[in-house]
């Protein structure tokens, strides 16, 4: 499903060079649930974004379902993201002028697809957000914002989900609910790569990776 080879990412900050990714090789089979942990600043978020094609590596290659992201045009990468991938970020990233249901439908709206309002309501129901469909982001709690972002990620029925600390800032009960949701998706065959700071969540994963200073230093099943 994912094959990354020799991933390097270098940022320049004046004279200083920063290497958030320093030669990473990574493979993820279809249907895997991979957790990536590590200290803050170890390069986890950059890693996830490179895998998702949200930024290109300085060196190396990434293949998603056999398609080399670097060989694709920007437009082709957008289409691939829209059709295959779902993203949940550290921040909810909802559009403030749109209601919950409009935010959830946004990926479909952007691509000019037929509105999947019934599906959106079903997903929101599963996430306990049905009473909030017409609410605006500023009327939601932190947990509700996160769950709306997850619902938005699921609307196009992605086969690959990249989640960057989706349970950060959530209370333990909501955290459990969110993780059970991801577990359910995984059980249905969705491939998941998730970043977390919470070691307890490793029970949900098929594999746990640890990153340190831009390298994958440890892997456990």
């Amino acid at each position: 499903m994912i094959e990354a080879r020799g991933l390097m990412k270098i940022y320049r900050n004046g004279q200083e060079e920063i290497h958030p990714l320093d030669g990473i090789d990574f493979t993820c089979e279809k249907g895997e649930f991979v957790l990536v942990t590590g200290r803050s600043g170890s390069g986890k978020t950059t890693f996830l974004n490179v895998l998702g094609g949200l930024t290109l590596p300085t060196a190396g290659s990434v293949k998603i379902a056999g398609r080399d992201l670097l060989a694709l045009t920007d437009h082709e990468r957008c289409v691939l993201r829209s059709e295959m991938m779902g993203f949940v970020f550290q921040f909810p990233g909802l559009m403030a002028p749109l209601t919950v249901i409009e935010n959830v439908l946004l990926p479909a709206t952007l691509m000019g697809k037929v509105k999947k309002e019934v599906e959106a309501r079903e997903i929101l129901d599963q996430l306990g957000l049905l009473p909030k469909v017409d609410a605006y982001p500023n009327q939601l709690s932190g947990g509700e914002l996160k769950r709306t972002a997850i619902a938005r990620c699921l609307i196009n029925n992605p086969s690959l989900i990249f989640a960057d600390e989706p349970t950060a800032d959530l209370d333990s009960r909501t955290e459990r609910e969110v993780m059970e949701l991801f577990h359910g998706l995984h059980e249905k065959g969705t491939t998941i790569v998730m970043i977390t700071h919470t070691p307890e969540l490793s029970s949900f994963a098929t594999r746990v990776l640890v990153m340190d200073e831009g390298k994958l230093v440890e892997s456990s099943h």
Binding site: Y11, N13, I18, P20, T46, N49, G52, L54, T55, L56, D74, H75, C78, V79, R81, S82, E83, F87, F89, F91, G93, M95, A96, P97, L98, E102, L106, P107, T109, L110, M111, G112, R152, N156
Partner: protein
């Protein structure tokens, strides 16, 4: 896409309201300039074509006053000897002549300000017919008057001048020129009014016998109008001849300075607003970097982001332009007469085709300005990598 743009605009009402006002100001400046230009041009065109007379002979010293009567209806009283009419009639190329007597009215019930009374000899006059509405074209009877379009009162309404009561018999169609504020009457009635004025009016009107204010001339061959004018000035002492080109020239110079001023206002409005609008667009896009990054992650192409940013600016420009055009149109219609007096040009509402063209041009220019202002942020932020946009400067 339009729905998202609309919601984005509504979400920031204060900032976008200011932008809409800026666009409205630009649009109003552009549209007003076009309105005045076309309104004045059409007014002159209609006015000159309906002047009836090919030439107007007036006393040498009163050339400007005569022009002001014809163009703006500014009341004035002046005379020269009636024998001038016979001298003019003898000039080579003159087909026929008719006298006019110009009398500035006192205050009257019809009007806020004194109006120009013009005495004519109906049987000799050849100038008024084209001005009259078809249905009202009948001979003048005793104490009948013909009123310009801006004189208040229905047909049959009595109006008093110098204590003498007249009846509105006919009304002229609007021309945007002095004739709109003028009142025409018989020579005989004018002299009766003058005779009665010492007893009936607060101020007596003195009309000397055997005097006229202007001689209207129809030439045999309109191609020789300027030549005939030169012949009259050469052969008749102490007179000046007004020709359509004189009148056009006088209006054109006033019109040019007015439209130049409006063009300059529109130019400076654009010059000042464009960078400000561009700056606001850049700031707006910058504060939405993360949102742009998320949209890209959700599958939005560069084209979609480009259209979202540009579309928002263009829709704001369209709203501003429509407000600016409608507002300035209303102001121009409501205060047309006042504007005409202030800028000293004849003015009527341009025909609908011209107005539609002016509104369309204004809309296109304003949209263009909106598009240009948002072009840089639209290109810049649509080309950003999603992750770079989301990081908002953090590593």
């Amino acid at each position: 896409m339009l729905g998202i743009i609309g919601k984005n605009i509504r979400h920031r009402p204060f900032r976008n309201g200011i932008l809409i006002l800026a666009f409205a100001f630009i649009a109003a400046s552009i549209f007003s300039g076009q309105y005045l230009l076309h309104g004045a041009s059409e007014s002159i065109e209609i006015g000159v074509s309906r002047m009836g007379a090919d030439l107007i002979v007036v006393p040498e010293r009163y050339r400007m006053e005569a022009m002001n009567i014809i163009l703006r209806g500014e009341p004035s009283t002046f005379f020269f000897d009636a024998s001038v009419m016979d001298q003019v009639a003898l000039v080579e190329g003159v087909e026929k002549v008719a006298p006019n007597l110009y009398i500035a009215s006192l205050d009257a019930s019809c009007c806020d300000v004194p109006v120009q009374l013009i005495a004519i000899e109906p049987e000799r006059d050849f100038t008024l017919k084209p001005w009259l509405a078809q249905s009202q074209n009948r001979p003048l009877e005793k104490d009948d008057i013909i009123v310009g379009s801006r004189i208040v009162g229905d047909i049959g309404t009595p109006l008093q001048f110098y204590g003498h009561t007249f009846n509105i018999a006919q009304r002229m169609e609007p021309a945007g020129m002095g004739v709109d504020c003028s009142i025409f009457m018989n020579f005989d009635d004018a002299f009766v009014m003058a005779d009665e004025s010492p007893e009936k009016a607060v101020q007596a009107l003195l009309l000397p016998e055997e005097k006229v204010s202007a001689v209207l001339v129809k030439v045999k061959d309109v191609r020789e109008t300027e030549t005939v004018a030169a012949r009259i000035e050469a052969s008749v002492p102490k007179v000046r001849v007004l020709t359509p080109s004189n009148l056009l020239g006088r209006i054109s110079s006033q019109l040019t300075s007015t439209t130049n001023f409006l063009d300059l206002a529109a130019f400076f409005a654009t010059l000042i607003s464009l960078p400000l609008i561009a700056l606001v667009s850049i700031m707006a896009a910058n504060e939405r970097r993360r949102e742009i990054g998320v949209l890209r992650a959700l599958g939005a192409t560069r084209g979609i982001i480009f259209r979202l940013i540009l579309g928002e600016s263009v829709i704001i420009a369209v709203i501003g332009a429509v407000i600016g055009v409608v507002f300035s149109w209303c102001v121009l219609i409501l205060f047309q007469n006042y504007i005409s007096v202030v800028v000293q040009i004849p003015l009527i509402m341009p025909n609908l085709t011209t107005l539609a063209w002016a509104a369309g041009t204004t809309l296109a220019l304003t949209i263009g300005i909106g598009g240009i202002a948002a072009l840089y942020p639209a290109i810049h932020y649509s080309r950003m990598e999603p992750y770079d946009a989301m990081r908002s400067g953090d590593l």
